[in-house]
Every structure is written in C-alpha cells, then in structure tokens.
Subunit: 244 residues, 2 copies
C-alpha cells in the first residue's frame, strides 16, 4: 500500500492495513477488526496522541516491569500486527518474555502463527507449549505456558478481554494494561492502565524503561506507589469528555 508520507490519516491507515494483512494471514480475527474500530473511536477522543496522563502511566508501567522477577508481555493477533517490533524492543529493555495468548479460535493455530510472525522478526516467543490454565476461565482460552504467563509475577496485557484480565489479576500477578477505553473491565482490573493506542504506548514504555533501568529498587517502588490507577482512569475519561 502506498500512503503518501504527508497524508493526514497516514498512521491510522497504516494500522488498518496491518490488521487487514493479519486478517488475510489468519492472525487477526473479524472480531479483532471490530475491537480495533472501537479503539479508534476512543483514540479520536484522545486526539490520537499520547496524553500527559498516559505518559505518567507508561512511567509507572516501566517501573513495575523493571521491578518484576519474571514479567511477560502477552500478545494477541492485533498487537502482533500493530506493534511486534516495539514489543520485542520493550522485552529487551525490561528483560521480559513475550507470550502469544489469544482469545478467539482457532487458538492453537493462531498462537503458532503469531510465534512465527515474531520469529520472522528474529525473536522466539512463548505460547506454543501451553500446559497450564489460568484458574477461573473456561475452555482453551485459559491455556498458558508453565514457564511463561503461568509463573509470571507481572503480565502486560494489551487490548485484552475483561474476563481474562480479571482472572489473571485473581492469581495474584501484577497487571499492566494498555486499553483505549478507560471504562473497560480490563482498564479497571489492572494495577497500571495506560489509556493509549498500543502503537504509541509500547515504545513509550520502552523509552521510560530505558531511562529508569539504572534506578534502584527503592526509587522504582516509589514511582509505582505514587501511581493511583483509579485516579488516572478518571483523568483519562475527563480528558476525553472535554475533547468530545
């Protein structure tokens, strides 16, 4: 696709094009396309920019990932197509693992396709050997890797289903979420929610992680403790309402 570099909707058209490609490859589902559209509506309300509110959440997220013993970045079909390279960079900066974890069937096939997508970019990820289940979730949607999400102390979820975020939180893990809807169940269930487009938020967390990686534990814990997710979500919603 040839989008002129100065096209006012270039970023948005590139994202749509990436998802259409993923749909053709079987990585993205029709429901994933609809979810992306819902996100677009919220992104318009944000002015398609990372707000100060989202910046602060990205900083807290970076600190939380750096404090973890074992962080996992959970990727689904949409995020694989939209921001794989930046997810790899974030994993490198924070020492986190990446695991393919999808909601819509065929889950096994889609997890394998996502893993291959990352392998083509030079990164081996988890998600093919799922022997464990997230408790409290029905069916094969709950399947995770023992050495990945199952044993992680922190999980980053992006554009995630509310049921799964809530189930992950109940296992005692720390949850970082990226979600454009500040009223979604995922946004509410997470410890740190970044209300932003994944395309902008993932590199932004990596940037903060790069700046914070030499801080000591106490300094990082202060950053996390100072972050109030409920207050942050209220701010994000107020920002959208003001712009609407």
């Amino acid at each position: 696709m040839n989008i002129p570099t100065n096209h006012p909707r270039r970023a948005s058209l590139e994202q749509r094009h990436a998802l259409e490609k993923g749909l053709n490859q079987g990585i993205v589902t029709p429901t994933g396309m609809i979810a992306f559209g819902r996100g677009e509506a919220f992104d318009y309300l944000l002015g398609e920019k990372t707000t100060n509110n989202a910046q602060k959440a990205c900083r807290a997220a970076a600190a939380m990932l750096l404090l973890s013993r074992h962080a996992v970045l959970s990727v689904n079909g949409n995020t694989a197509m939209l921001c794989a390279k930046n997810v790899i960079r974030l994993a490198q900066t924070t020492g986190a693992q990446i695991e393919a974890n999808v909601f819509y069937p065929p889950v096994k096939k889609r997890r394998a396709l996502i893993a291959r997508h990352f392998e083509k970019l030079g990164k081996k990820i988890l998600g093919k050997n799922t022997s464990k289940k997230i408790p409290g979730l029905a069916s094969n949607r709950s399947l995770v890797e023992e050495k990945g999400i199952f044993s992680a102390d922190t999980v980053l979820v992006m554009v995630e289903d509310g049921d799964r975020t809530q189930a992950l939180r109940k296992t005692g893990k720390k949850i970082v979420a990226i979600d454009l809807n500040p009223k979604s169940r995922t946004a509410i269930a997470a410890h740190v929610t970044i209300v932003d487009n994944v395309v902008r938020a993932v590199p932004e967390i990596a940037r903060h992680a790069q700046k914070l990686r030499n801080k000591n534990t106490e300094e990082l814990e202060k950053i996390v403790a100072a972050f109030d997710n409920g207050k942050s979500l209220k701010e994000a919603l107020a920002f959208m309402k003001k712009r609407a």
Copy 2:
C-alpha cells in the same frame, strides 16, 4: 450461532455474527468491520438504546421521506447484513427505492452481492446498472443508477463516508443520515441525522412513517421545518458526554 435469548449482549453478538457472515460472503469489507467497531463505542455511550433525541430525528426523517417525490435508501455492505428486512419495510411504508452503493472495492461485485442478498429476501433493488456519477467524487466510488440515487430528491445514507455525503448534499438533494458519531462529517452534512444504531433506527423511522403517512403536506412540512439538525447533534453529544 446459538446465543441464549437472555444473554445480556445478545443484540450486539447477533450484529457481530451478521457482519462476520457478510465478511465471509464478500459483502462486508475488513474496513467495514472496523467502522462497525467505531460505531459500537458510540453505541455504548448511548446505552445501546434509541434516545428521545433519536426518536425526534426519526420522526423528522419519516416526514422528509414521505414528502419526497423520489426517495432512495442507499445500502452498503454493513447495512445489508445488519438491517435488510427493515430497510425493505421502510421502502414499502414510504414508497422509497433501495440502491446498493458501496465505497470499498470490488464495488461492482459487492453491489451485485448486496442486490442478490435483497433478492433472496424477495426485493429487487437498484445498484447494478450504474451509468451516472455523483459530481465531485473520484473513481468508481461515485457510480450510481440514473433512475435511482442520481435522480432522487432525497437519499437516506447509513454509516456513510463523509466525502460522499458531502458530495450528495452538494447536488441539491435532501439527505437523511443514520450515524452513531454525532461529530462525523456525514452527521454534520445531512439535513436530518439520526444518532442511533441502524438496527434500531430503521424500524423506528418506519414506525413513524406508518403513523404519519396520512398527514397532509403542510403537516409534514411543519415537522421537517421544526427540526434543527445542528441543535439535535449537540443534544446527542451532550447525552453521550453525560453518560461517559
């Protein structure tokens, strides 16, 4: 698909399922899926109900359609899958024609598929013999039937592209629009905009048309004259902001 009749998200899941079916049939495009998702976000803000504000707009729309010499209901892939039966009923109540008119390629093939979809429901529609263009629009996206949209005095558009709504308006036609985004270019360009889901709005216009069809021209003109689209859109937006 078996959705329990008491499922709280039944209506929404049925709509998604209809679109997925349309995607498999080639009637709906990936971009149409995304557009539907954007609409869902706005529909959440409406509480997924037809507001009093939308009711009033439906009444004005019904009056405008009844006043027309030659009204055409323009259907695209999404609206064909979401509300074909109710579009047929609205055409019968108001004496309007139906024309398949799509934005995304392959336009000729998709117009034919939509026509066949309506034929299966017992209704012949226009859209296959497009010899005329809407002025001011590039490419085959502007193609319309001479005896349909081209010569219509009123066109109902649903989930329409802003460029096309503006181009149609410039031809001097009256435009009725159904659009969940009260700030979209289509919503602003139309004479009467119903901020509602097409699934609810189309039968609602038909209900009003049924009630108004025996009114005389003067009474119908009063209803249309009393409707202020700018004011109505402001009300719709205020309603959403209050609920957000």
